[in-house]
């Protein structure tokens, strides 16, 4: 390979390799490309020293910077928390949660913070917009089992409903059919009674038959007019809103099997100021009393 062969049109040396008359040119790599290649090679060595790199038998070389993504995340969260701490502190220091709504800036902060907390923690059951599902109460309407004022919502969030918290809100719609308390005829009559007091057409004879039974068994929670009682979580059974459905079959199932939905308590998982923000947000969804 002592004498170089020069390709005529381009004036470039060939490698001497030939395929069907086509010869390979020996063009060098561009200088700038080589420089970048060598810079990256050198940089990789620097990187090995600075950053966690080589695996060992019992662990790995951690790098002189001691870099870990976990530490970065912790620092980022701490920075975010300190950035929010002024408003969070303000949320914590209000004497009454109602004060939050009268301060436009604080209200805006609480609603934004509450919206993201709601998406993370509440939307699974109550829906992305708080619209609720069968068995999971809607938070956007004006029917509240345990009260829809700001401090009622705050308390529900803190302690939960039928949760494991010692101060949980608790009550139950008993399974009157399963336990044999009511027979089939009585249940059918009560279904007609509920249809009647919620303003729909019902068998009047059955309504008359059921009235004493209602007065005896149901009044203590649902009240004489069926308006419910938020202090016991007893729903109003005269209005248009039905957590478990308002048709005859739904009402019959409710009386027969009972209802006892559970809302977990959030004291252990969220801070007090987060719960305050969440309460303000839920209240602003529309159902607030």
């Amino acid at each position: 390979m002592s004498d170089k062969e020069i390709d005529q049109p381009t004036g470039v040396e060939t490698t001497g390799h030939e395929w069907d008359g086509i010869k390979e040119l020996n063009n060098p790599l561009p200088r700038w490309w080589l420089i970048i290649l060598w810079i990256t090679v050198i940089w990789s060595v620097v990187y090995w020293v600075l950053m966690p790199s080589w695996p060992g038998l019992t662990g790995h070389f951690e790098g002189v910077r001691g870099h870990t993504e976990r530490a970065n995340v912790d620092a980022a969260i701490a920075a975010l928390e300190s950035q929010r701490s002024a408003e969070m502190q303000q949320l914590l220091s209000v004497s009454s949660i109602n004060e939050v709504e009268s301060d436009p800036q604080l209200l805006q902060f609480a609603m934004n913070a509450g919206a993201s907390l709601f998406g993370d923690n509440c939307a699974t059951c109550h829906g992305a917009g708080g619209q609720g599902f069968k068995g999971y109460p809607s938070l956007v309407d004006d029917a509240w089992l345990w009260g829809g004022a700001l401090d009622d919502i705050q308390k529900t969030l803190h302690h939960g409903i039928r949760s494991t918290h010692p101060e949980t809100r608790i009550s139950a719609m008993l399974a009157y059919g399963e336990t044999g308390a009511f027979d089939r005829g009585q249940i059918d009559d009560l279904v007609e009674y509920v249809m009647h007091i919620s303003g729909r057409s019902a068998n009047q004879e059955a309504v008359v038959r059921a009235a004493p039974l209602y007065a005896q068994q149901c009044v203590s929670c649902h009240g004489p007019e069926g308006m419910g009682d938020p202090s016991q979580g007893a729903p109003n059974i005269t209005d248009a809103i039905w957590l478990y459905g308002g048709e005859r079959a739904d009402i019959r199932e409710t009386i027969y099997s009972g209802r006892a939905g559970v809302m977990p308590h959030w004291t252990d998982r969220l801070t007090d100021e987060q719960i305050t923000a969440l309460a303000v947000y839920v209240h602003s969804l529309g159902g607030g009393e």
Binding site: G129, D141, A240, H283
Partner: protein, 503 residues
């Protein structure tokens, strides 16, 4: 005498004469389309300094454009308490663009679009009239390259000295010259990047922090990027940017016509070219003595005598170079001048040359420019100082309340673009039997009064409840009317009220 000096001295004595007292310059158009081949290494260009009215104009424009660029961030403009006092500021953190008396919100970015349209049409108009004046005088690439060449000339001397230095062996003197040149270039580049970031921060606060290391990381990043690009584009890439990277040379062909004034070598007067001996008559030959002064002056490395070409940025330095030669050989100036293709044809046919600025395309561009200007000006002067966005809740689209009535929820975002706090009255128009409520606000007689701080946005959650007994339509049009209680300025913001049909 070194060998090189000897060789150069020999060359000097052998130099050809283009005319009496005018030497032929050994300059080749290395960047012309013919000479420039793919796979060929770039041949350096050493533009020779010229003197003349276009060089003076270019110095003036260089100082004017660079002066505006470097000094504009320092101009102050009082806007009132709590507002930045920088005349031109792009405030990303606060979401505002300030330009003297104009303050643009992110939602008004279409004004910037309008400004860009105006700039584009203006460029079309200028190009149709005078060719690539943008490229030749005002393009940052041209201005900074000119500045870099000036710095190069200051350290290394003019064309011949620079060429000699490039060929010279690496002595201490050469290293010193080269390194001081690059140091000046880097300083200019850093100042360029440094001035750029001042448009995005308060200049007097940012500059000290840039030196102490306390400036935001983005400031250093963009300063670094612009330092690098300025140094590369104006230092080593130069004419290659215009020839290979820029789309404008390709577009200009469609914007000019045969009546466009461009830097032109008057072939009809110059040809046939050739050296002229003292005492010979000028009849029967052209005025071009082929001295190549125009080629040596060209920063793009082309020969203007080849005619209009995409490499030519119309910087007019060849005009100055040629005029200098013409006065020395006692021929009329303007062999290379701003002229039109059509005039060359006219002269060849014996007609008088003329300049036609009013042509259908220039009139069209002019009219478009005027219309866009008027629209922009009207929009800017009459723009509302309050803007409202109505965001309707989508999950759920509507809510049935316990008494059977239907409620929709909306978030009103009220943008108060004035610098003072204002009170707005919010009412709902368009549908009957709608009751309005709002979170944290009292609504009296279906009207809500809200205070919005100056230069701020306030979002308010509003509920509209349609009372029972109203005919149920899937969608009912509604209008949120927001009125400034003091000035009466009002915006109507249409939206809809949704519910289940016939339920």
């Amino acid at each position: 005498m070194t060998q090189l000096d000897l060789k150069l001295a020999q060359e000097k004595t052998a130099v050809a004469q283009a005319a009496d007292g005018v030497a032929v310059i050994d300059a080749a158009p290395v960047n012309s389309a013919v000479a420039r081949q793919l796979y060929k290494k770039r041949e350096p260009i050493y533009p020779k300094l010229v003197h003349g009215k276009f060089r003076v104009l270019k110095w003036f424009l260089l100082f004017a454009t660079l002066g505006v660029y470097y000094l504009l961030p320092w101009v102050r403009w009082q806007r009132g308490p709590g507002e930045p006092d920088q005349a031109v500021l792009v405030d990303f953190a606060g979401g505002r663009f300030y330009f003297f008396f104009i303050e643009i919100w992110p939602s008004e970015l279409y004004y910037v679009t309008g400004l860009l349209i105006l700039a584009a049409v203006g460029l079309f108009l200028a190009t149709a009239l005078f060719g690539r004046v943008w490229c030749g005088y005002a393009c940052p690439q041209t201005v900074w390259t000119d500045l870099y060449i000036a710095a190069e000339r200051l350290i290394e001397g003019d064309r011949n000295q620079r060429m000699r230095l490039a060929k010279a062996p690496w002595t201490f003197g050469k290293v010193l010259k080269k390194s001081s040149k690059h140091a000046i270039w880097l300083a200019i580049a850093a100042a360029t990047g440094g001035a750029w970031v001042l448009y995005f921060h308060d200049a007097p606060t940012l500059v000290p922090t840039l030196f102490t290391g306390d400036a935001p990381a983005s400031a250093y990043l963009f300063m670094g990027i612009l330092t690098f690009t300025t140094y590369m584009l104006a230092g080593s890439m130069r004419e290659q940017v215009c020839t290979y990277m820029c789309p404008w040379p390709r577009i200009q062909a469609a914007l000019t016509d045969e009546e466009t004034l461009q830097v032109t070598y008057k072939r009809d007067r110059g040809e046939p070219r050739g050296p002229h001996k003292k005492g010979d008559p000028w009849d029967g030959r052209g005025d071009c003595i082929d001295c190549k002064a125009c080629v040596a002056a060209c920063p793009m490395g082309i020969d203007i005598r080849d005619g209009a070409q995409l490499e030519c940025i119309n910087c007019a330095l060849c005009i100055d170079a040629c005029n200098d030669i013409m006065s020395r050989i006692d021929r009329p100036k303007g062999l290379i001048a701003y002229d039109t293709d059509k005039n060359m044809i006219r002269r060849t046919q014996g007609d008088a040359p003329k300049v036609r600025l009013l042509r259908s395309r220039t009139v069209f561009y002019g009219v478009v420019f005027a219309v866009v200007s008027v629209v922009m000006l009207t929009a800017l002067t009459t723009r509302a100082t309050v803007e409202v966005n109505v965001l309707r809740d989508r999950t759920p689209p509507f809510v049935q309340l316990s008494d059977g009535s239907i409620r929709n929820a909306y978030t009103l975002k009220i943008l108060n673009k004035a610098n003072v706090e204002r009170e707005f009255a919010v009412t709902i128009d368009g549908a009957q039997d709608i009751r309005m409520e709002a979170v944290g606000e009292t609504v009296a007689a279906n009207e809500m009064r809200v205070l919005v701080r100056g230069d701020d946005v306030r979002s308010i959650r509003v509920f509209a409840t349609m009372l029972g007994g109203v005919e149920r339509r899937a969608s009912t049009p509604l209008t949120f009317v927001i009125r400034d209680t003091a000035s009466g300025e009002q915006t109507d913001n249409p939206t809809v009220f949704l519910m289940e049909r016939g339920s």
